[in-house]
């Protein structure tokens, strides 16, 4: 049985354990009294807060139960916020208005995003455009009012595929949809003016296929600017999720096994040398966007996560060392499953990590970044997208996500413009700061009978998916058999079919359509040819300057890969003098190219 099969058993056993505790609380008088005592204690200690109208409310809402069995069901089955199995929340107080000043978030949330109530913008706005200096300027603009600088970087197509800006036929794609990065010099330019070693800075990089190379370039850039001592201080996240690329997003550049090997080499390095770095963000977002059902999204994300843990632990990296450095990224759409999707995921992760992998409390946390669904937004009558995103935001926060990105309404047809980015950001502020939905009371909307029903149904469906993957021989075997891929494609097809036949209502598209489906007249952010040419010229200069050194560094890198050593140290050296495309090309010579699954 693979570890995933054991996770299924562990969750089933845990569910049984909860029922046993309920029974015991009702029959074992002493145990019952203890539970009741603890319950009353907790209730008595809950601080009271006041709404602007003066209404007193508890800062933590608990169900109205006073019977030991039900109390046991709550304690063990759900857990207080911040307590195992973390169904309601990973931390005790999530979006609550601070009592005094902002408390030490550091203690609570590590480097994952937090809401800073004073900040106007949500803390991580995904950004990347044109060349490094342009994105750098945008970064400075976005963080101008923020004490903490949390940059989220989007890369252009050539970078995501690990190729250079001078490659055949990519000219028009330079700087489109993200920033163009070819060399360590671009990387320095990208974060110029930010203190990369500061505890108030963190960089997030959304890239997977060539992630280890980009990571090496980031480290090289930081070292050039701040010296080698900065390395252990670096904070941030790199996506580096290979499984979801193969399952959904198609940005894989090496065959699966060497891709995983380069990933583990990087994780081994960051775990030891960069303890504050999140080397992998296990992402369901792209699975959801590729058209999966919500349950598939949650199930594949969790199972991918467990597969990574099994892999890293298999290399002898202690689970309590890398476990707390894993984070998750989910899509939040409008389907009913989203009412509890992340809650259930958090619970399954905690149980699996604790009971199968022996992880301690910090490594049990499913730390979650959510993004509202891009797929749910449409071009037709696009202002409706504001409402869609708002509803999705409510669902995301009901699930106690640790951070959230709200999409701009103009996304279906362009790179978001500033007007709509602002509205999206303000949507979050209205929800968290202006409205009273989330700021007074933890668990404000948790635990309704409806939510519980969704939780049960979603958990059962996720475990079914696990069983199927287990039957196929585990995650890697299932991926190679295209299991997840075909499931996602099938779900996507069904979704389109439902829109087409009207069983899935989309307002303004197949229902209440006013005919206003012209793409609105917007100014599109396009990279000028002159800039694209500038990038190509810069790259040529870099390559010329480093030609000799690059050759030696690539030979050394190839040697390390051939010998099966951890190749990350040689990758670090190569990142100093080689371009992204040179490194990718050389690695592909040794390990091959990814063969698409069609």
């Amino acid at each position: 049985m693979s570890k995933l099969g054991q996770v299924v058993e562990a969750v089933e056993n845990y569910d049984k354990f909860v029922l046993d505790q309920v029974k015991r609380a009702r029959t074992d008088e002493k145990f019952g009294r203890e539970l009741l005592g603890r319950w009353n204690d907790i209730k008595a200690k809950i601080p009271v807060t006041r709404t602007p109208t003066g209404l007193p409310l508890p800062r933590l809402a608990l169900p109205e139960i006073d019977e030991p069995g039900e109390i046991a069901r709550y304690f063990f089955g759900e857990g207080l916020p911040g307590e195992f199995p973390y169904l309601s929340a990973a931390y005790r107080e999530m979006y609550l208005e601070p009592v005094r000043e902002i408390e030490s978030f550091e203690k609570n949330a590590g480097t994952i995003d937090k809401k800073i109530p004073q900040a106007e913008e949500p803390t991580r706005l995904f950004s990347g455009l044109m060349l490094a200096e342009d994105t750098n300027e945008r970064f400075h603009y976005l963080t101008r009012h923020q004490r903490t600088h949390r940059l989220s970087t989007a890369f252009d197509g050539p970078t995501l595929y690990g190729i250079d800006s001078d490659a055949d036929g990519v000219f028009g794609k330079i700087g489109e949809g993200g920033v163009a990065i070819d060399t360590v010099e671009d990387m320095m330019q990208l974060y110029d003016g930010f203190d990369l070693g500061s505890p108030n800075f963190s960089a997030s990089m959304t890239i997977s296929g060539p992630a280890p190379i980009i990571m090496a370039m980031y480290i090289a850039a930081a070292k050039r600017r701040f010296g080698p001592k900065v390395v252990p201080k670096l904070r941030g996240t790199i996506q580096a999720d290979i499984f979801k690329e193969v399952q959904a997003q198609n940005e894989t550049i090496f065959p699966i096994e060497p891709s995983l090997r380069f990933l583990t080499d990087m994780v081994e390095f960051t775990t030891h040398e960069m303890p504050r770095w999140y080397p992998i963000s296990i992402s369901g977002y792209h699975i959801g966007e590729a058209g999966s059902t919500p349950v598939q999204q949650a199930a594949y994300t969790l199972s991918n996560g467990f597969a990574y843990v099994e892999m890293f632990a298999g290399l002898g990296i202690p689970v309590d060392q890398f476990g707390p450095r894993l984070s998750f990224f989910l899509d939040c759409g409008l389907d009913a499953e989203y009412i509890a999707l992340a809650r259930v995921s958090r619970r399954i992760w905690a149980i699996g990590m604790r009971d199968v992998f022996g992880a301690g409390p910090k490594a049990q946390l499913y730390k979650l970044h959510t993004q509202t669904s891009g797929r749910s937004l449409i071009a037709a009558e696009f202002k409706n997208n504001l409402t869609r995103t708002a509803a999705e935001l409510v669902l995301a926060y009901v699930n106690a996500t640790n951070s959230c990105h709200s999409n701009s309404a103009d996304e279906p047809f362009t790179t978001p413009s500033e007007e709509w980015i602002r509205l999206a950001a303000h949507g979050q502020a209205i929800l968290l700061e202006e409205s009273g939905i989330f700021k007074h009371t933890m668990n404000m909307l948790s635990g309704s009978p409806g939510m519980k029903a969704v939780e049960r149904a979603v958990e059962a469906a996720i475990l079914d998916e696990f069983r199927e993957i287990e039957r196929l021989g585990g995650v890697l075997a299932a991926v190679e058999e295209r299991y997840q891929r075909s499931q996602i494609q099938n779900a996507s097809h069904r979704y389109e079919q439902q829109i087409y036949d009207g069983t899935r209502p989309i307002i303004g598209l197949n229902r209440y359509r006013d005919g206003a489906d012209e793409i609105p007249d917007v100014k599109l952010a396009r990279t000028p040819r002159s800039k694209q040419q500038l990038q190509v010229d810069r790259l040529a200069k870099f390559k010329k300057k480093n030609a000799e050194k690059a050759k030696r560094a690539l030979d050394k890198l190839a040697g390390a890969v051939e010998r099966g050593e951890n190749c990350f140290p040689t990758l670090l050296e190569a990142a100093e003098v080689c371009s992204l495309g040179q490194i990718t090309g050389r690695l592909q010579e040794v390990v091959g190219r990814f063969r698409p699954m069609v």
Binding site: G157, D168, P258, V598
Partner: protein
């Protein structure tokens, strides 16, 4: 009956958004169109080369990652440069391509751009209306690839029209060429023809692509032709998707043609024989022919006699041992490959197939073949630099002068005829 419309579809380089194109491909196929699907993350060069070799009527590009104005224009320009501007370009990108963009793209020679909200029916209708009519008179081909591609189309068309041979017109035009095209005459065969067959899902396509990679590396000037088959029913569409998997075979030194079987059973198309005969005399070092996934009774290469070397690619999961007795190709293949030999069952499969091959030997000896041993090789084609594939490659390469040198066609024939009579 006219040949089905052939079009090529692809997603541009640095773009992995293949969900729309997958849906559109299926819709095209349902409406009688043969779609050669090149896959996602494809360069301009790869797209244009494939379009010329496949001699399609049009290229459909689905772009969601920006840079579409340049990319589409580069495809159009390269087609022009190669003298292939009879191949039209159309495409779409949901909401990412604005009306202004589309106007520029059309000015630059793109025939049509579909916007978000275009129904699948409209796209199918567009393709039928614009590319369904017979071709205008063709201009003189500008490259060897193009000339060959045109001839292959003539052969396919003539079979579709119910004629057995290319029209006199085609004959006349080809006769100008030095490399004379004479169907069913193998005197001029200069290339070595290697046939790959086996059940669907055994990994033939991946295996061939790995062999091509080795060939290109070993022979810096060598050239290969590939005839690849996918099934279709008479008058219906087909998805010809091998190119998407064969990443190493998208190369200027590889001429690849994807053929739909158009209703013929047995793994090949009615036109295959003539197409292969043509390719075999054109100075390719190797001509590789890949059948569709075949059944137990198939012996796709026995009729034409052009194939020098036959390779049967098997999957370890063939069912019970008894099934092996029914697979005719196990009697005939020069090389039997058990691919996916990393699967648990592979070792058993190897042993059982080895025993099955042993049975052939006495029979063969009695027919004067001197007990020539069929080779059995285990491979994991999906693995880069797999030693099994290396061995297979060496075996095939050495075959030119060695033990596997075209033996055998003559010696084999009487045996096969006898066997068939039985």
């Amino acid at each position: 009956m006219a040949s089905p419309i052939r079009i090529l579809t692809a997603v541009p380089i640095c773009d992995g958004h293949d969900s729309a194109i997958n849906t559109i491909n299926l819709e095209f196929i349902r409406h009688g169109i043969e779609v050669i699907y090149l896959g996602y993350h494809r360069s301009v060069t790869d797209i244009v080369r494939a379009a010329i070799q496949e001699d399609v009527r049009a290229i459909g590009i689905s772009s969601y990652n920006g840079g579409h104005i340049e990319f589409f224009a580069e495809v159009v320009n390269l087609l022009r440069k190669k003298g292939a501007d009879d191949i039209k370009v159309f495409g779409g990108g949901g909401g990412t391509i604005t009306h202004d963009d589309a106007a520029i793209m059309k000015r630059k020679g793109v025939e049509e751009v579909f916007f978000a909200g275009t129904s699948l029916e409209e796209m199918v209708k567009f393709v039928h209306e614009h590319y369904g009519k017979p071709r205008a008179k063709r201009t003189r081909p500008k490259s060897a690839d193009q000339e060959l591609a045109h001839k292959l189309t003539e052969i396919e068309d003539s079979y579709a029209a119910g004629r057995k041979r290319p029209t006199p017109n085609a004959q006349r035009r080809t006769s100008k060429s030095k490399k004379r095209h004479q169907t069913s005459n193998f005197k001029h065969q200069t290339s070595r023809v290697i046939g790959f067959t086996g059940p669907g899902g055994a990994g033939k396509t991946t295996l061939i692509d790995e062999l091509v990679l080795r060939f290109l590396n070993r022979n810096p000037k060598g050239k290969i032709a590939i005839l690849s088959h996918d099934p279709s029913v008479v008058g219906e569409g087909a998805l010809l998707g091998d190119r998407a998997t064969m990443i190493n075979s998208q190369d200027d030194r590889v001429f690849m043609r994807s053929m739909a079987t158009r209703g013929q059973a047995g793994g090949l198309s009615p036109a295959t024989h003539d197409c292969l005969a043509l390719l075999a005399q054109l100075n390719f070092d190797n001509v590789i022919i890949e059948t569709v996934g075949t059944g137990q009774e198939a012996m796709p290469f026995q009729k034409n006699g052009i194939v020098d070397l036959t390779v049967l690619v098997m999957n370890p999961d063939y069912g019970s041992r008894l099934q092996l007795q029914k697979i005719v190709m196990l009697d005939l293949a020069d090389i039997v490959v058990v691919n996916k030999s990393d699967l648990q069952r592979a070792r058993t499969a190897h042993t059982e197939i080895e025993q099955r091959l042993e049975q052939n030997r006495p029979v063969r000896r009695s027919f004067g073949e001197g007990g020539r041993k069929q080779q059995l090789i285990d491979t994991v084609a999906k693995r880069h630099r797999d030693p099994g594939v290396d061995r297979l490659f060496e075996l095939i390469s050495s075959g030119r002068d060695g033990a596997l040198r075209r033996p055998a066609a003559a010696a084999r024939r009487p045996y096969q005829q006898k066997r068939r009579k039985k």
